[in-house]
Every structure is written in structure tokens, then in C-alpha cells.
């Protein structure tokens, strides 16, 4: 039975023209949300699939709850850290570390507060942190927390993907962006301050990685975390 037939106008079905992965795919889907929407929830059907296949699904507030496992192989913790209260960021990493086996891996991404774009915004008197983020970090801060949570850092680098894709474009133009030339085309077609700034900044961040927007850290758990976050942070 077709879902759209069953639910008619209550469900809006859209198709993205490429597979953008989970995070960017969700961001693109937001372009289709009604203008009067005030709150957005992301529902992941994979969790329901996993449950049906006999995989334990843990729902928890990582700022408040332990995950309740201790032998996971890998934790993908992407674009979450910046949404946590900064008193709880280390707590969350410690909880992830506790959920992993020794030699288990952590993949973490988070925005770089020291990016050129953020610096320029601050110079212009604007709040540099994205409005839905609680706190953003420098790479040194992230590495310090990752190590404190019991990980050795395997690799840490700055990704350029957000410098290329965080722009204001028509949906179809947005989907075609794969390089600087496409970014220029968008900036010419839609000459907003944001797009012009992005286009000006891109060649610089291409040359100077530490000015890019995205921090990527891959860690391996080498010891149980010794820090006692609640005692430390109150």
C-alpha cells in the first residue's frame, strides 16, 4: 500500500537528487518544512529497524543518562557536541567512552569556532556561533576533552565540506554544488551577504585548513576514563 495514498496531505514526500548522508540530507529536508513551523523533530527509522532485528536500541539523554553498554565497537558522534550544554560536553564524551570497548573508535565532528567565517562575523559585530548551537569549540578544546575521556587521537583535521555547502541557494542549485566554480555561480545568482562572504572566504580556507569550518577527530579508546564529571562540574 502506498503511504501517500494512506496519509494524503498529512505527509509530504520529497526526493533529494543525490545521497547526501544523514546530516546534510536532514539539512536539505529542512528546506521543505512549512514557514510557520516552530519546532522540528528528526525521526530515524533505522532505530525501529534495528529493534525489529533484535538489536538493542537505547534511547537516552546523553547529558543526563548513561548509555548502559560497555562493549560497543564504534561511536559516531557527529554534529552533536555543539548542541550540548558546555558543562555536559565532557560528561557526554565520558559516557561514550564508557560505552565503548578498549580499542573501540570514536568519530567526532563539530564546527570550528576559530574558522575564518566565524572570525569575520565577530569582526562585523555579529554573534559568530550558529543560533541553534549552545557552544562551539576550537580543535585544542575538542582534543583535550577527547583525551580526558580516555581516547588517544588517531587523526584530527579540518574538513572543507561546510565551507562549500553552507550557503543560501535555490534547492536545485544547491544540489549541483561540487566545487568553487559552482559556489561562485550561486553567489552571482543570489548575491546575499552570506553567499558573497562564503565565496570570498573559500580560496583562503582552501589554503589554510585551520580556518575551515569543520573539525573532524578520530580517536581510539585506550583506557577507562578516570574523570568524574559530576564531581568536577557540579
Amino acid at each position: 500500500m502506498l503511504i501517500k495514498n494512506k496519509y494524503s496531505d498529512k505527509v509530504k514526500v520529497i526526493r533529494l537528487l543525490k545521497n547526501y548522508g544523514y546530516c546534510l540530507g536532514n539539512n536539505l529536508a529542512l528546506k521543505y518544512v512549512s514557514k510557520d513551523t516552530e519546532y522540528i523533530l528528526f525521526q530515524n527509522p533505522d532505530a525501529i529497524l534495528a529493534k525489529n532485528c533484535g538489536v538493542d536500541v537505547i534511547k537516552c539523554d546523553i547529558e543526563r543518562d548513561e548509555l548502559g553498554v560497555a562493549d560497543a565497537d564504534c561511536a559516531v558522534f557527529t554534529e552533536v557536541l555543539e548542541h550540548l550544554h558546555y558543562y555536559r560536553a565532557l560528561v557526554a564524551l565520558v559516557r561514550i567512552s564508557r560505552a565503548l570497548r578498549v580499542k573501540g573508535h570514536l568519530i567526532l565532528t563539530t564546527p570550528n569556532i576559530a574558522s575564518l567565517f566565524r572570525r569575520l562575523r565577530l569582526l562585523l559585530g555579529k554573534q559568530p556561533i550558529y543560533k541553534y548551537h549552545v557552544r562551539e569549540y576550537t580543535v585544542d578544546e575538542v582534543l583535550e576533552m577527547v583525551r580526558e575521556a580516555g581516547f588517544d587521537v588517531v587523526k584530527a583535521y579540518y574538513s572543507i565540506v561546510n565551507d562549500l555547502t553552507h550557503i543560501d541557494a535555490e534547492h536545485n542549485d544547491y544540489l549541483k554544488i561540487s566545487g568553487y566554480r559552482d559556489l561562485i555561480k550561486v553567489a552571482v545568482k543570489r548575491s546575499t551577504k552570506l553567499n558573497i562572504l562564503r565565496a570570498l572566504v573559500y580560496p583562503i580556507v582552501k589554503l589554510v585548513p585551520s580556518l575551515r569550518q569543520l573539525i573532524v577527530v578520530i580517536g581510539v579508546k585506550v583506557r577507562e576514563p578516570s574523570v568524574k564529571p559530576f564531581e568536577r562540574w557540579g
Binding site: V13, Y20, F42, Q43, P45, I48
Partner: protein, 56 residues
């Protein structure tokens, strides 16, 4: 009492072959909320197994 609109985004990829009726269950779950003012966006991440046709 006013109810601000809540949009529930469900991102799917090759869900027809892997999720099947579970996808239906996920959408029903979102629809069956007591909260009256919701919309559901099902976004197909360019599936290759006919998922878009399945939901559309």
C-alpha cells in the same frame, strides 16, 4: 490554547528493501501523536531500490 507547528523529518535511504513495513510504522508513529499541529516530511536520500516510488 495555541499549538505551534512541529515538523517531523524522516530521512530515508533504500528503505523499501531494508525497512519495508517498518517505514510505515515510523510514519504512523509520527502521525499518532496526541499533539494536533504536526506535519511530516519524508525525505528520500536518492534511494536506488524504489523507496521513493513506494512512499510516493
Amino acid at each position: 490554547m495555541s499549538y505551534p507547528k512541529v515538523s517531523i523529518v524522516i530521512l530515508i535511504y533504500n528503505a523499501k528493501s531494508t525497512l519495508g513495513e517498518v517505514l510505515d510504522k515510523a510514519i504512523r508513529s509520527a502521525l499518532n501523536q496526541d499533539y494536533p499541529n504536526i506535519e511530516i516530511i519524508v525525505a528520500d536520500n536518492n534511494s536506488s531500490d524504489g523507496t521513493y516510488e513506494y512512499v510516493n
